[in-house]
Symmetry: C2
Subunit: 344 residues, 2 copies
DNA sequence: ATGAAAGCGCTAACAA
DNA sequence: TTGTTAGCGCTTTCAT
């Protein structure tokens, strides 16, 4: 690795002042073609790459926006990032992505790093409950949160509660009383909102809550598989599944197929690839992460233009993808192996 | 947005020298607890965030590695990035991701930006054919390419050609002579290697090549759907499908289901979620992007430790996921509507 | 059209 | 233990 050339080296090699080099690399037109040519040759010769760090130190503002997500290896987040890129790039803004691994400490680090990089603004999508550490940033750079509302910040959220309620209602309407929620992670704000909806529906129908039906699951997609097996091994197993998020949904569905348990009614919060092609097709509440990203970026741009704006919370719509799985009816008790009960 | 506080402001507020502030924010232990406390209070009060740009300008090296991918919204790439993050974060390295949208010009921009940010090194995963612009970087920072070999650089690749050959052989062995390759994009190096394998197998078996069976498809996943329909509408439609990549594979399979054409034999280059759960289950050549990322990062670390290393090309293994779809046999000609031929 | 010099926020000698 | 000073690579006045 040779010593890296700086603007001075280029200037010396081209026998011009550093200012002329600066003009060339910034595309300023008032440079004699001959000089420009000399400079360009020197740049090529020395493999010169302008140091953005120095540039943004001087100018005080880079041309990047930051995005923080929990896990890039999750279609929800990658689609969200995609929407942001699709809009940022044409504006000449680069997007830099950092992920947290669902770890609040890492979220803080990422934010610190971005703030220190002179990013123009940040879109913050991790869905942890904690958010006290955000406070200082409010005054130093535009921040838009996704799927998590934090007082004083712009946010884009989904009405998880209502959508989840409607979904669980449908399962109840198909005759189910033992409904498991698979994929619940108590660290995640959206998961808690969806759980509340689930419980409220059951209570409204006089169905007893059973915590065993809502196993805590970590974010690894394999975890959901184990949770499914545990839940099916219960004395009074569920006849329907409410899947807490798309990430886990795909692996639960795969696990169901492996176990040959496609008799279960299923509703997924979050649509996923091939949900429509498996047998039976899986009904889903679709929250479009691409749309969430687009809305968040739009808001960021607004705030960039006018930092004095009052923070707002935008709500993105969900759509119900009605397919087959949620209409599967509960088995008549006679079809099940008799389970011992107190009331026997 | 208030004026952002700098180290000087903090020093003034805490009534200490800037060096003391520097010590505090860098966790140097030789600071009197009382002073440290004063500084920390000032930091909190002013919402001070250290400027990483200035820091890395001074020290000459940041603590980030860069990753460039074509599209973050593609499980292949997001899984690759994930592997890199999983290894970098524990080492105290942050990962910054940029994507190209399959655009060579944007790839150059991203690389320039990363090089200008003082990243320690870069993993370059875009799979375009072009790579002349890489040359200058060889001497200024460690670069490892994935799925694209470039002379003079380390790379991690998959033996696309052999794996694709074996796969297409299987299709031929099931009696197919009209085999379409869906998802081909001529701009992509891997696609070209896979196409060569496909053609070589057909030629080896005396099966005529038909360019109509290899429609050019852009990277949007919807594009594959149209390509499938076109190919099925040919006078002599294919009885088997060789899917060029996982991205398109999932949408082609979905389209097949919509069209009710699950009678086609299918083999996918690249495994995808639920491939095993659809009916019939889809056979795939699995190239593990997570593994590719892990290998690439490993090599980057080696080169960071010793920049004088000779470039090497590591080949990652593929695995054949034998499921049902590739065993579907060609329909007997009698079952097809008779197609007019020259030879009548 | 070109150049000289100052300074962005920070760290690293070196001094005290 | 703490402070002073120089300078990282660049852009930006302000001259020329």
């Amino acid at each position: 690795m040779q010593e890296r050339a700086g603007i001075k080296d280029v200037a010396a090699a081209a026998n011009v002042s550093i200012k002329t080099v600066s003009r060339v690399i910034n595309g300023v037109s008032t440079v004699e073609p001959a000089m420009r040519k000399r400079v360009e040759e020197a740049i090529a010769l020395l493999n010169y790459v302008p140091n953005t760090a120095a540039r943004s130190l001087k100018t005080g503002a880079g041309n990047t926006v930051g995005v923080v997500v929990d896990s890039i290896d999750d279609v929800f987040f990658s689609s969200l990032v995609s929407a942001i890129e699709d809009r940022a790039i044409p504006m000449g803004l680069a997007v830099i992505v950092g992920s947290t691994g669902f770890d609040a400490a890492r979220e803080r680090d990422q934010l610190l790093r971005l703030a220190g990089q002179n990013v123009r603004g940040v879109i913050l999508a991790p869905v942890g409950e904690e958010h006290d550490f955000l406070e200082p940033y409010r005054s130093i750079m535009p921040v838009v949160t996704v799927d998590r509302s934090v007082p004083g910040f712009d946010s884009v959220t989904v009405d998880d509660y209502s959508a989840a309620r409607e979904g669980v209602e449908l399962l109840v309407a198909s005759g189910h009383r033992r409904i498991a929620m698979v994929g619940f992670d108590s660290r995640i704000q959206t998961a808690n909102r969806r759980r509340r909806a689930y419980e409220d529906v059951l209570v409204a129908h006089g169905i007893p809550l059973d915590p065993q039906l809502v196993p805590e699951v970590s974010f690894e997609s394999e975890a959901a598989r184990g949770a499914l097996q545990n839940v099916l091994a219960l004395e009074e197993p569920p006849t329907a599944l409410f899947l807490a998020n798309a990430r886990h949904a795909a692996s639960v569905v795969a696990a169901m197929h492996h176990l040959g348990r496609t008799d279960l009614a299923v509703l997924s919060f979050g649509d996923f690839s091939l949900a429509d092609s498996v047998q039976p097709s899986i009904s889903a509440i679709d929250q479009d992460p691409y749309l969430l990203g687009a809305l968040a970026f739009e808001r960021l741009v607004e705030r960039l233009a006018d930092p004095t704006l009052e923070p707002v919370d935008r709500t993105a719509p969900t759509e119900f993808r009605s397919r087959v799985s949620h209409t599967i009816r509960a088995l008549a008790p006679a079809d099940r192996a008799p389970a011992p009960t107190e009331r026997g």
